[in-house]
């Protein structure tokens, strides 16, 4: 069933929109940097000092700004449509008329959405890395603590960072699936997912989070920076893992509970 859910995904324009944007944005960023020969002033963004001289920082910088809006948006674009899209197309009633149970269908959809999310991150980082290598070339990376990292270490840590950014994205995807299951409305689910991200960011920026602030889902997107320090600060990384897991598990279980009981009226 997961195979067929993926088959459906790769045949939909929406999926290509998401993956295409994930591939194009790093290239556009790199092109803009090469043309203007300017980036953010050093100190403003992590790794900005090496922007013009080291292609290895390209995926890291794009990961930094991509995780604020772009990656969450591309994630919920597909995740929010997972159930609602089938409701509005009238295909949910068709599939539920077959022998696959509602639970089986739900978890296949959940798995397909999460695989898509991982693919978006992989494409985003992979394209950035490849473009940076081709256009600039790789050099040892200046870690955030000032410790130099070899090219090999730099590449490994970049992918580890991508994995860490993926965790809250997977959680966000689960939340969008939950909205999709509850609202049966694709647009509402996509917008709802984006609003959640913006709202949490706002709460954090205005300092309204109080003691909860470190546990907000949006604040897990920057946990990967701690990988770049020497020694690595594991506490925020572990926190990102369990906070994301709780969001994902809670959202999926709630979405599943609604999905298996909900009347299909379209």
């Amino acid at each position: 069933m997961v195979r067929w859910e993926l088959f459906k995904l790769i045949r939909q324009r929406r999926t290509f929109l998401g993956l295409g944007a994930a591939a194009v944005v790093p290239i556009l960023f790199l092109a803009a940097v090469r043309i203007t020969q300017e980036g953010p002033p050093p100190g403003e963004a992590p790794f900005a000092a090496q922007l013009l001289s080291n292609g290895l920082v390209i995926p890291l910088i794009t990961l930094g700004f991509g995780s604020v809006v772009l990656l969450p948006l591309l994630t919920v674009l597909v995740a929010g449509d997972a159930i609602a899209g089938e409701v509005s197309a009238g295909t949910l009633k068709t599939v539920l008329g077959r022998s696959v149970g509602r639970s089986g269908l739900f978890w296949a959809k959940a798995a397909a959405v999460e695989l898509y999310t991982l693919t978006v991150v992989t494409v985003f980082v992979g394209v950035g890395m490849l473009a940076g290598w081709l256009a600039v070339g790789f050099e040892p990376l200046a870690g955030l603590g000032g410790t130099p990292l070899s090219v090999g270490e730099g590449i490994a840590l970049t992918w580890a960072s991508a994995g860490l950014v993926a965790l809250p994205l997977l959680a966000l995807a689960a939340f969008a699936v939950f909205l999709s299951s509850v609202t049966h409305n694709s647009v509402a689910s996509v917008v709802g997912g984006v609003v959640l991200i913006l709202l949490l960011q706002l709460v954090s920026t205005l300092g309204l989070g109080g003691i909860l602030d470190p546990y907000l889902l949006t604040n897990q997107f920057s946990a990967w920076l701690n990988l770049m320090r020497e020694p690595i600060d594991w506490a925020p990384i572990v926190r990102a893992a369990w906070v994301s897991f709780l969001w994902a598990a809670g959202s999926f279980l709630a979405a599943w509970a609604v999905f298996v009981r909900r009347d299909v009226l379209s």
């Binding site: 045949r11 009633k93 068709t94 008329g97």
Partner: protein, 327 residues
């Protein structure tokens, strides 16, 4: 109604085995709105069962409950004797409700492959090519469903149902939106499938379809069962009084005689056809509970010579309107 219920208990039922479908006290409420109320009916094996009702009568909600898309508020759906709670209880059933939904961005073939995978029958499923042929879609199988006409989608829905090799087929307005040729094709297909032994539950608001295809009928209105049984039984239930067409040597005089009787209601309206007589010769009337015997005697006593007296069975359309517009 009592008559229909009596029949269910008759021995002929048990030789047929368990019914294909039983609805028992089926009720669905959406908030305060009662969409379906205490619906009881039985579809025996081999029936082509017409499910009639005007729009908004609860037909679709009932079918959604049969298909497992909507949870009944109370009551039960049984399929081949098993309470239908999950997909395994519905393994012998296939069908669709309202406009069939397909993945428009996929070809018909890919849609069927996907649905076959969702059936989890592996190699036991019939070849996709075969069901496409039955539905007459082989030529267009590789085209995206987006390019399909309404009629082709309806046929694809039947192909998708046949992919499950069901014993019980639920069709919701399968000829909806089709041109006369398309309707004829679908009806021929339904007849053929019925001939092959499938039990068919056919929801429709087209009375001609019921008359052509169905042996049993249920009429619903405002979520309630108004009548159920064989077509002839239903007309008896609906009539309450019995209608006759009369031809006498003197139509005017016979009218006058009938008008004076308290147990007779003269029925005007469109002229009645009766073979061998011209329409103005035919008098239509309804006899009271005492039957037609005293009426004839009265006519003869008044010197009217009765040439023909035929019970008039109201058309299905009249019955339908009478049933659904009451109250």
């Amino acid at each position: 109604m009592a008559e229909a219920q009596g029949q269910r208990g008759m021995p002929s039922d048990s030789t047929d085995g368990v019914p294909a479908l039983e609805l028992e006290g089926l009720t669905k409420r959406f908030g305060d709105f009662v969409a379906v109320e205490d619906l009881n009916l039985v579809v025996r094996r081999g029936d082509v069962y017409g499910f009639l009702g005007p729009n908004g009568s609860g037909k679709s909600t009932t079918i959604r409950m049969i298909l497992g898309l909507v949870r009944p508020t109370s009551g039960e759906v049984r399929i081949f004797g098993r309470p239908a709670t999950g997909p395994t209880d519905r393994a012998k059933m296939a069908g669709f409700v309202e406009a069939p939904g397909f993945y428009e961005y996929l070809s018909a073939r890919d849609n069927l492959r996907l649905l076959a995978a969702a059936d989890r029958r592996g190699d036991k499923a019939p070849p996709i090519q075969r069901v496409l042929e039955i539905a007459g879609l082989s030529d267009r199988a590789r085209d995206r469903v987006r390019t399909y006409s309404q009629g082709m989608k309806q046929r694809l829905a039947i192909a998708a149902a046949l992919l499950r090799e069901p014993e019980f087929l639920v069709l919701d307005e399968p000829t909806n939106g089709l041109d006369p040729g398309g309707m004829r094709d679908i009806r021929a297909l339904v007849r053929r499938l019925s001939g092959e032994g499938l039990t068919i539950f056919l929801s429709t608001h087209l009375l001609a379809e019921v008359e052509q295809l169905c042996n049993r009928v249920a009429v619903v209105g405002r979520g309630r069962l108004l009548a159920e049984g064989a077509l002839a039984e239903i007309s008896d239930q609906a009539r309450g009084r019995t209608e006759y067409r009369l031809v006498a040597d003197d139509p005017e005089r016979s009218r006058l005689v009938l008008q004076t009787r308290e147990d007779v209601a003269l029925l005007n309206g469109r002229p009645e056809e009766l073979e061998g007589f011209s329409p103005d010769e035919v008098v239509r009337f309804a006899a009271g509970p005492g039957g037609v015997g005293p009426v004839v005697r009265g006519l003869v006593e008044e010197g009217v010579e009765v040439l023909a007296l035929v019970p008039a069975r109201p058309s299905l359309e009249e019955l339908f309107l009478r049933l659904t517009e009451e109250g």
